[in-house]
Structure formats: C-alpha cells, structure tokens
Symmetry: C2
C-alpha cells in the first residue's frame, strides 16, 4: 500500500497492520462477565462475535434464524436458545423470561449473547429482570433499559419489569442449591430436572 | 416485619431477606471484564461499588475527591488516578487520554472504574479511544458514546475520538513488549519507565 493511502486509512481509524477493524452488532454491550447484549447481528458483525468465544446465544424473536447465522452457530459449536417473543407491545410473558433467566444463571452456558431485533425491548426486559435478581434498585434497572431503548422506551416494558416477581427465580435457585447438595437424593452434581431445562433449539430457515 | 408490609416491599422490588438493594451510580455500565464506567458515585452508591472489588479508579474531573470518597478508596486500598479534565467543551487533550489509556492497558490496575461527573463526555471520550485501540469501527465507537451521552452528545467529542491517533498507544504497547522481553536490557518483568507511568494521586478536599 502506498504510504499516503496508508496514512489516510489510519486517519480514518482503519487498522492496516494489526488485524481487521471489528464491527460489533448494533446496540452491543457487555452486561456482566461473559454476558453480552445486542441487536440482531448483521453478517458483517460475525467476525466480532467470533472474538467473544460464545457458548450460547439467547435469541428472543419468533422469526427463524437466517441460514448464515445457523452456519455460524453450528461451526462454532454455539447453543442457540430461541424464545419467540413478538416484537409488538405488551407481549413479554413471565414464563418466557423465567425460562431465559434459568439459562442465564447457569454458568455452563457462558459466554452468552442475548439478542432480539434492535436490542431495545425484548433484550431490555430480560436484562432488566436479571438486574432485579442481582438486587439492583428499579431506578437503575429503568435507567439501563432506557439507555438502550432511547426514545423508543416503552412504559409497558417498564411496568412488566417492575411487576416481574423475582421470587420465582429465587425458588429456582434454591432448588438448584438443594439439588447440588444432594438434598433428598444422592446427586452431587449441579442438575436441572430434565423436564424443566429448555433444550437448545437450532432452527434453520 | 408484618406479612402485608413485607409483600408490599417485595412487590416494589426490594429484597427483604437476601441482602440490601443495590444502587449503581448513574450511567453505570461494564465496559470490559473488570472495567466499569459511570457518572459521579453518590454516597448511596458506595455499597454497590464495594461489590466490584475495585483496585483502581480513574477520575476525570479537576475537582478534589470528596472526603467520604477518599475514605472509601483508602479503606478499600483503591488507587485513585485523577486527571483534571474540565467539563466544558473541547478541552480533552491527547496527552491526558494517552496517560489514562496507559493505566487501562495495565492488568495490574484491574478491576477499574472510570468516572467523571455524568459519565457522558470525558468518560465517553476515554472509552471511545479504548475502543479504537480494540479495533472497533468508528460507527460503533460513536454509537456507544451516544448511548451514554443521549441528547447531550457533542460533535467536538466525536471529532476528538476520530482524530485521536491510536498509533501513540501502539508504540507504547510495543515498548512494553520489548521491555517485557528484555529487549536491550536484562529486565524480564513487565515494567513502565519510571518517568512515564502516572502515579496514583489521592487528593483530599
């Protein structure tokens, strides 16, 4: 590359020597160690996702995963957990959020990416309920939700997060702890009941 | 506590049994593993900060650290690196950002919290330059900046981030690597030159 051209690219923030420029998905952020959130990844975002060494993806839309994305998860041995929440208003259900939270509290699924279409509403509700489980005050839960939703923030989502009864998850955690300690059985390993653990679903279009 | 009162508190998201409700500072977020950003922490946020097990704080305002905060950092053995950037427009300087980035690339300082007053402009510029060092494309750098700055986003900050020459940091990293490998000396340990490493500064009011 000519020196002048190279300089130009460097000024634009392109890296010409140390590897390709990385393009995270829209609305990408780290939530916790090994837990990420974003909008729907474009094919151009896949090289960035590769750097996260994901073990699981929680996908919150009803639409089938595009073929290119299916190939990506298969070739990288990523478990895809799909929960088909409609993108329209007031359709997030307690049960779906509880199921998704059960995946999030299981370290065997990490690193995890949560995403929907825009990374605003469905993803925001799930992360918000996780924050409640982490004892965050509602003010901070809403502030984080609004940071990602921007001027598309929905009162219905915030009412949902406020109303979500986190004691459901506490009970789930307690039952895990009891199972871990072999309470009432001889099991010593951290186990879910077969019937209560959602199975990874890989849907091709 | 009466049963009815308890139920009421639980409905509000307050935790009555498993520990106090945590209140993160305004505009709080995780940037990377062990790296956090926020606005100025209120005294009520200190219990939350305690859970992060911080080793360092990068404080980007010229105002002295309040006494309560000084006590907090001292009692938790946290190193305070203060860089007095004025909160008004167009005052972020390349040199200060380079100095702060040198702290951020040193794992010995982790976990780290970066904060200024609102966690929008000064903190946003520093995180943006770190993203450039991580090869993020400018689009994603700006998107992240704007998510935290909201309708207070400043063109001058974005121009600064775009113009910041990340090769300065690359040179710093290369010199570290050479020192690490004992290039030109017998040193085998990761060392900064004495004169180039900013010292922790704890300023009381």
């Amino acid at each position: 590359m000519k020196e002048k051209e190279k300089e130009g690219r460097e000024r634009e923030g392109h890296d010409t020597e140390d590897g390709a420029v990385l393009s995270p998905p829209t609305n990408f952020s780290m939530v916790e160690e090994g837990l990420y959130r974003s909008g729907f990844p474009e094919p151009s975002n896949l090289p960035f996702l590769e750097t996260l060494n994901l073990k699981s993806i929680i996908y919150l839309c009803p639409e089938p995963y595009p073929e290119e994305h299916c190939k990506f998860v298969e070739s990288h041995n990523i478990r895809l957990y799909q929960f088909g929440i409609e993108g329209t208003k007031e359709t997030v259900s307690d049960d779906v959020i509880t199921q998704a939270l059960r995946i999030l509290i299981d370290v065997r699924n990490y690193p995890v990416l949560i995403h929907c279409k825009r990374g605003k509403h469905r993803t925001g509700c799930l992360v918000g309920c996780l924050r409640k489980l982490q004892n965050w005050c509602l003010f901070s839960v809403f502030e984080e939700y609004q940071r990602f939703a921007g001027n598309k923030a929905r009162g219905s989502d915030m009412r949902f997060m406020e109303a979500y009864n986190i004691l459901r998850m506490r009970q789930c955690l307690y039952s895990l702890i009891y199972q871990y300690h072999g309470y009432g059985s001889n099991k010593r390993r951290l186990l879910y009941r077969e019937d209560s653990m959602p199975k990874p679903r890989i849907k091709s279009s």
